[in-house]
């Protein structure tokens, strides 16, 4: 029998999770503004509509099968979810690959705690789903895009989520491979951002660069975004939503570590933005607003996995490294690999998702995370504490993201491109005219058309 104080604690914890879910869902508005602002006016209705529609598309896939695949085996007594709703579907013991149960929220024990968890997790899935809409913007055929949304919510995101947060095999590597506390990703640098980032890379590779992005000499040309204030506002909204993303990942308001998490998140974002401003000024002479936005987001992405386990100084260092990493990756992606990523999704989400995942194994100071993944860990420790095992677990996670999850995304887009009449890319004349009228039937800015030279 729980005491009244314990019951109250559980209730407050669940409230915290639901507040977190609402904040993360609001991040969709941030993504929509960032991506639309960084694209050209003639595609603006199309780009903003992909960001709008992805919320529902991914949601539907996650509702029917994605959630039970990923979290059928998840339990957390702190919010009143004592028993998992399902069991293993593929694999057993420490080697669970997918779960079952609770299909479409119609079977198993449906409790407020389970539904609160669903709401929180669906918001994370939608973040993954919306990342490729940035790297593939201005040329992704609408009908092809919709299939990605459902695929991401139903299968793509749940795979790696099941292996890590759901209690699957990567979370058990502390037992099976003696690696630290197993794969540790507090709020999803890897599970969300790197997984979304490799899909962004795969999509950009398959769909190809926008017409006019690379000159005849192969040099990248700038195709400036049409609404920088919109993109910067979106960045601030993402920062705001990120407090739900990270701080509410304690799943417990009674776990005051959420304050540490929130502050570390803000530190990394601030240091990322400042570093990017100075770094791009040094590189090109001007404090490019787009790069400042990318720098802040890079810091936020990178601190997402380690935010609960690190000291504030480490959050600052992570923010600084993340910003430089993001800017250099933008250059490398464009200049060396000739990949067109209009918003910098690959640099921000993939590169810094990977960095953040590894950062857990570097900067964790052992002050938090006792018993993580059911291990005997007394607190997550990185190499600054002389422990290399955790970095091993993180590196294995990165290898799986690059070696298993990326090929799945690449294969998905490749096969879809083959099976779709005309491919997953919009028609050339539509792309040149702007996707707004041909694909959406409406212009974003009908009053302002005709002013382009």
């Amino acid at each position: 029998m729980q005491s009244e104080v314990q019951v109250l604690g559980t209730q407050i914890n669940l409230l915290w999770v639901v507040i977190g879910a609402m904040l993360v869902i609001f991040m969709q508005a941030g993504f929509a503004l960032v991506e639309t602002g960084f694209c050209r006016a003639k595609h603006a209705a199309h780009v903003v509509a992909t960001n709008f529609a992805i919320f529902g598309l991914g949601f539907v896939g996650f509702f029917f099968v994605g959630f039970p695949f990923a979290f059928g085996g998840f339990s957390f007594a702190g919010i009143g979810l004592e028993q998992p709703v399902g069991e293993a579907l593929i694999g057993s013991g420490n080697w669970i690959f997918l779960f079952q149960g609770g299909w479409a929220m119609s079977s198993g024990t449906i409790t407020p705690a389970l539904l609160g968890l669903f709401l929180y997790m669906v918001a994370f899935m939608d973040t993954v789903a919306t990342i490729p809409t940035g790297s593939m913007a201005e040329r992704w055929k609408w009908s092809s895009f919709t299939i990605w949304g459902i695929f991401c919510g139903a299968i793509y995101y749940p795979l790696f989520a099941a292996w890590t947060w759901g209690g699957g095999w990567l979370s058990k590597t502390w037992d099976t491979m003696s690696l630290g506390a197993g794969y540790v990703d507090f709020a999803g640098s890897g599970v969300v951002h790197a997984v979304g980032g490799v899909a962004a890379l795969a999509g950009a590779l398959v769909v190809g660069p926008r017409i006019g992005k690379f000159g005849a000499d192969g040099k990248p040309r700038a195709l400036p975004g049409h609404h920088i204030p919109m993109a910067m506002l979106g960045t601030f909204i993402l920062l705001f939503g990120w407090f739900g993303f990270n701080a509410a990942s304690t799943f417990a308001a009674t776990d005051v570590q959420f304050a540490t998490v929130a502050t570390n998140t803000a530190i990394a974002g601030a240091f990322g933005a400042v570093t990017a401003m100075f770094y791009i000024t040094k590189r090109t002479g001007k404090p490019d607003p787009g790069m400042m936005a990318n720098g802040m987001l890079a810091g936020l992405v990178a601190v997402t996995a380690p935010c609960a386990f690190i000291a504030p100084w480490a959050a600052a260092v992570i923010g600084v490294i993340a910003a430089v990493l993001a800017i250099e990756t933008v250059f490398i992606v464009e200049r060396k690999f000739k990949i067109d990523d209009p918003v910098g999704a690959i640099a921000v989400h993939m590169m810094n998702g990977i960095f953040g995942t590894l950062a857990v194994g570097i900067f964790s100071n052992g002050s938090y995370g006792a018993g993580w993944n059911g291990s005997s860990s007394k607190g997550i420790e990185g190499i600054i504490k002389g422990d290399w095992g955790q970095l091993g677990a993180q590196a294995l996670g990165v290898v799986v993201i690059l070696g298993v999850i990326f090929p799945i995304a690449y294969g998905f887009f490749k096969i879809q491109n083959k099976l779709t009449k005309g491919g997953i890319r919009s028609a050339e004349e539509d792309e040149i005219a702007g996707l707004d009228l041909p694909e959406m039937g409406v212009l974003a800015y009908p009053e302002f058309s005709g002013g382009r030279l």
């Binding site: 040309r221 700038a222 975004g225 490019d288 933008v330 250059f331 464009e334 030279l453």
Partner: protein, 112 residues
């Protein structure tokens, strides 16, 4: 009657307008235009990549004046729009054969 057309730097428009008003001009038409002359375009960087601005924004003024006022008006534009730097623009004068005020049907100098 002459049509005077001037291309000036956008930030000088207010100065030009004030100078023309002082010179007794009663009306004009302005439009935002783009183009290039000897100043050429310039390059900007966006997300680390350079791009060319081939057409520089300018403002075009058009006004019709009596022959007797042409020199004074041209001089007013030339002095007020002058910064001494490349890209200050141009003024040209064109003959017009007929001028009509739509409201009253007046023609010629009466219609100015």
């Amino acid at each position: 009657m002459k049509l005077i057309t001037a291309i000036v730097k956008p930030f000088k428009v207010d100065d030009v307008k004030d100078a023309l008003k002082s010179a007794g001009v009663q009306g004009m038409t302005v439009s935002e235009v783009k183009g290039f002359g000897r100043q050429g375009g310039h390059t900007e960087t966006y997300r680390g990549s350079e791009y060319a601005i081939d057409f520089v924004p300018k403002v075009k003024l058009e006004l019709v004046v009596d022959d007797a006022e042409v020199d004074a008006v041209v001089e007013a534009i030339r002095t007020s729009a002058n910064t001494g730097k490349i890209g200050d623009g141009k003024v040209w004068v064109t003959d017009i054969s007929r001028l009509i005020r739509i409201r009253t049907g007046e023609e010629g100098s009466n219609a100015i």
